[in-house]
Amino acid sequence: MSTLLSLALFLVAVAAGGWALRFAGQKATGNAPGFRDMPFAVAFGYVFGASLLVFSVWYFFQPTQTDAGVPNAGVVFFRWAVQFFIVSAVAAFLFRALGRSVGTKGSRKLFRQMPLTASFGVLVVILYAFTAVFAAWLAPHGQEEIFAKVNVLPGGNAATGGDPLHPLGTDQIGRDLLSRLIYGAQNTVGIAFVTTCLAFFLGGSLGFLAATLQGWLDQVLSRAVDVLMAIPSLIFALLLMTIASAWAGSERWLLTVYMIIIIAVIDSTRVFRLARAVGLNIVVMDYIEAAKLRGEGLGYLIFKEILPNATAPLLAEFGLRFCFVFLTIASLSFLGVGIQPPLADWGTMVRDSAQFINFAAFSPLTAALPLLAAGAIALLTVGVNFVVDWMLHRSSGLKE
């Protein structure tokens, strides 16, 4: 209750400050238009933002430990968050500056128009792709390698239960967590990528086929997709995974294959809708008519005439679809029915280490472990979404 009361008091103080700021500004500038026409909400916003900024700076420089040596966990997490934010902003800025001066004329122009968020997204995607491809060289140990020391704490400091060999510690059966985090990029991202490609292949080809042939095939496919889309996708995926787990039996890798197929089929319904809608707009064009009169076959029509003209919307959809697939796989793994051990995977890592979060007040580094794995998932989807958002903004030509 006291927190609510202090929050209300803070808001009242900010409101009073906003009013005072506007009043003082009007007096000081002799009622110049800038302050005269300022709505109260804007003044409120300025004071609110300024007080948050002052509080953040003050909080950032609080000591990280109390006198008794107990870590002040709130400050530690806040510092990490601020440092991460600053580092990523600087990295995005430098990356954009690099892109503006290096490369072909077209790529330089692209980088010149890019907002900071989009360049951050591109940077994140490149970093993840690099980690995924070179995981075997980047990771200090193998993903299934088991060490004698179990439950080593993160930090690498032998005095606090760490081990310099394992910077992030080991899990309950002695596998190196840093290596598993790095291999997670390969498994989680790789499987999501394969699934999305499969979904696009299925949905895209069927959608274009329905748009070109129309008639009964279009009707059958569209109604089937309607029914599949009427079941919430995560629920349907869970239901089908139940069946798949019974089929797979003790073959763990088979379950992963089934999962790829199941999620690809469920997500291909969304791709089908888009491909069919885009395709229907293209098949009425004159050049399709001309190609048909020339006597071109179905394959030529779809791959040489429709596909090149549908690339832009499909590419943006690919980014969004990848995010959905990636999040679905992560959620399934988190619920325990997705990617199966011994493959390292972020969703499973979050589930396994979730209880560490309760130790945050004593050992912030230990508590950061589940957040690190969950954050690795979040960072990639956020990055892809930033890029897709910018692409959509560019293609829609929204200026307002």
Binding site: T3, P39, A41, V42, G45, G49, A73, G74, F77, T117, D226, V227, L228, A230, I231, P232, L234, I235, F236, L238, L239, L240, M241, T242, I243, A246, W247, C323, L327, A330, S331, F334, L335, G336, V337, V350, A354, I357, N358, A360, A361, A367, P370, L371, A374, G375, I377, A378, T381, V382, V384, N385, F386, D389, E400
Partner: protein
Amino acid sequence: MHSIIRIILQRLALGLLTLFVVSVVIFTAVNMLPGDFAQAILGQGATPEAVDAIRKDLGLDQPPVTRYFQWLGGALQGDLGNSFAQANFASFVGADSGVRTTVAQQIAPRFANTMFLAAVTACIAVPVSLVLGILAALFRNSVFDRATNVTTLTSISSPEFFLAYVLILFLAVLNPMLPSLSNIFEGMSFGERLEKTLLPALTLTLVVTAHMMRMTRAAIINLLASPYIEMARLKGMSPMRVIVKHALPNALAPIINVIALNLAYLITGVVVVEVVFVYPGIGQLFVDSVKIRDIPVVQACCLIFAAAYILLNLLADILSILSNPRLRHPK
């Protein structure tokens, strides 16, 4: 007026048809399971007689089509069958107490809990997203707009469990204000219940607010180029009044639509959040039943989720028709 009722009836019939087909899909999918439950519970050393007896008791000896119509007929009367996991096999040793947990009994309290969670979330999320959306449209392209844009995009694209654990870290572990476990039981007072529900509700709010807020902003900004907005501006109205009195009523159709869709998401997308907070809702029950392959419960949960999803989509459809005169009077 007559045509509206006809359109609504058409949509309703279509929704019912979809639900029927969905139930067939669910039933078929579940019946693709290899082996059956009778064998699974008795293990490898089961005598054929015992397996047959349990099969007969659970009705597994009937052909699939008969079972489907029995199941559907029962579901329509609110009888979703008996849970396999809690079935009482004492009758085989002659000590049947006659007490059985039906699926409906298992689901009903949990369904109420989930609806409570969804309602609390909606009560927070809808007003917040409307206000934020209007403010972002009002101060478009300002620092405030950019900041909300980036924040909402981040919270849309993060997985639910990431948001949930961040909230747990800050609101339950570092500053112990709210409980991180939602152990809700019968006979709790409303205040206690609300306190335990608040953290999962806040997590869901973060997820849905972003989407609704962005749609509100986009819907309002779409209208700002219209002549009547220009007129309102030229006669000297304040920007806030222009948006609230002239733009908002016309932007209501897409906003209502996206709110209904997000409510559909709330009822179905709660699975992960319920698991994180151990909230005794229908999503948790569903995941648990999936793990132990309790088929009647899985079927029933799936059907309920699908029904809620279809119903809310239908509602969104009908509301958008009602709020748009051009759709209300088709040529």
